[in-house]
């Protein structure tokens, strides 16, 4: 088996340099690659283009990179939770491409499946359709959207093995498997790293061929954005 293990986040991101395009997995703060984000913050790499469904919150996730002005452009579907993001956007310091969530996911999928573009009805007739090719299939209009072209994809999984195979847990799966498939170089941080052979091949979500570097992360905070509970029944 090809061994994909690196020592940690610092080594995993060592060749991410200024101007790189990176994908970051997660939905809100759920399933984000916390260790690699910290390492990118410490490395102070700049002018990044970040493809991620959300932009973190002011003091966590991608929000930490925004605060240091490391991000030149964000490609996201929803950024409502971040005041610093909104400030940089309205002042013109940050370039932002807001795209439909399904389009975002499927443009990742297309990259991982080796397809150059997709056709989706999302956004037909709206301002996001401006300048895009429209094709009619069976009486319905679709926009052509290109597969992403990202230098790096950084994902977070629950378990992984030394061969790079990944298993995700619960809804922290979200964008992680499709982004893992889409990076030219894919970095996976996992909560538990095991030897090849310890994970059942039938239960692998992302095959190791898509993963170039893997390490066991540490000190996961797993912050909850909206803690909602019900009272115990008495």
């Amino acid at each position: 088996m090809i061994n994909k293990v690196v020592s940690g986040a610092e080594e995993a991101i060592k060749d991410i340099s200024d101007g790189a395009t990176i994908m970051l997995g997660g939905f809100g703060l759920c399933g984000i690659p916390e260790n690699c984000i910290s390492a990118l913050v410490n490395k102070k790499v700049k002018n990044l283009t970040c493809i991620s469904n959300n932009a973190g919150v002011d003091d966590f996730g991608i929000g930490l990179m925004l605060k240091q002005r490391q991000v030149k452009k964000m490609i996201s579907s929803y950024v409502g939770e971040n005041a610093e993001f909104e400030r940089q956007l309205l002042s013109g310091e940050l370039e932002v491409d807001l795209i439909p969530q399904g389009t975002l996911a499927t443009r990742c999928l297309a990259a991982g499946y080796g397809m150059p573009a997709i056709f989706t009805p999302a956004g037909v007739g709206t301002e996001i359709a401006e300048g895009k090719e429209v094709r009619n299939f069976n009486g319905k209009d679709y926009l052509m959207e290109y597969a992403f072209d990202a230098d790096f994809a950084i994902v977070k999984a629950w378990k992984g093995d030394t061969a790079g195979n990944l298993i995700f847990r619960s809804t922290s799966r979200n964008f992680n498997p499709v982004m893992a498939m889409a990076g030219k170089i894919t970095i996976a941080e996992v909560e538990e790293l095991v030897e090849a052979g310890e994970l059942d091949p039938d239960y692998i979500h992302t095959p190791g061929i898509y993963v170039h570097r893997i390490f066991q992360g540490k000190n996961y905070e797993k912050r909850i954005e909206q803690r909602t509970v019900r009272k115990a029944e008495i």
């Binding site: 996201s76 579907s77 950024v79 499927t106 019900r230």
Partner: protein
Amino acid sequence: MFSKEEIAQRIAKEIKDGYYVNLGIGIPTLVANYIPKGINVVLQSENGLLGMGPFPFEGEEDADLINAGKQTITTLPGSSIFDSAMSFGMIRAQKVDLTILGAMEVSENGDIANWKIPGKMVKGMGGAMDLVASAKNIIVAMQHINKAGESKLLPKCTLPLTGIKCIKKIVTELAVLDILPEGGFKLLERAPGVSIEFIQQSTAGRLIVEGEIPEMRLD
């Protein structure tokens, strides 16, 4: 006039046994509380879950298990988890029977605006554009008039559009309306105590009133 809870309660009556339903943020989320007893409905959350259960008991929150509103939730027997591409795949392929979402404006030809106020609100469309472009059945929960008394049911939307010609049914604090294929808001029901005249003056788009208009019932 209906409260937000009553709008949700009225919409819940449209949910049928065996439906897979996607609920948007805001009033649509409240619909889950009023799903008629004795029918089987599966709630889809577009971050990758079918079979969304209630909020967890205090102390049982799981940071890895949230809904599209980023709230901690639970699964149910028979739930399944998948990635974001598959989630929008099942939406695009019309496997989800009903989508319920909020709106800032709807036009008489079925256009909807709910994602952006230029210069003011910069949040993004999330999954709304995908949902309205693909869903076969969409119900909009919205305020008929804003705080200044201005109609949100318009001849043409003024805000950036989320989708075109896609809305067929609206439930507001004043009324239940269908949008006809040829255009126009057809009044179906009015909220208790609300007159047709008031609905007429609260609807900027073309309102079609034919025959007796019954009051909405919640039971």
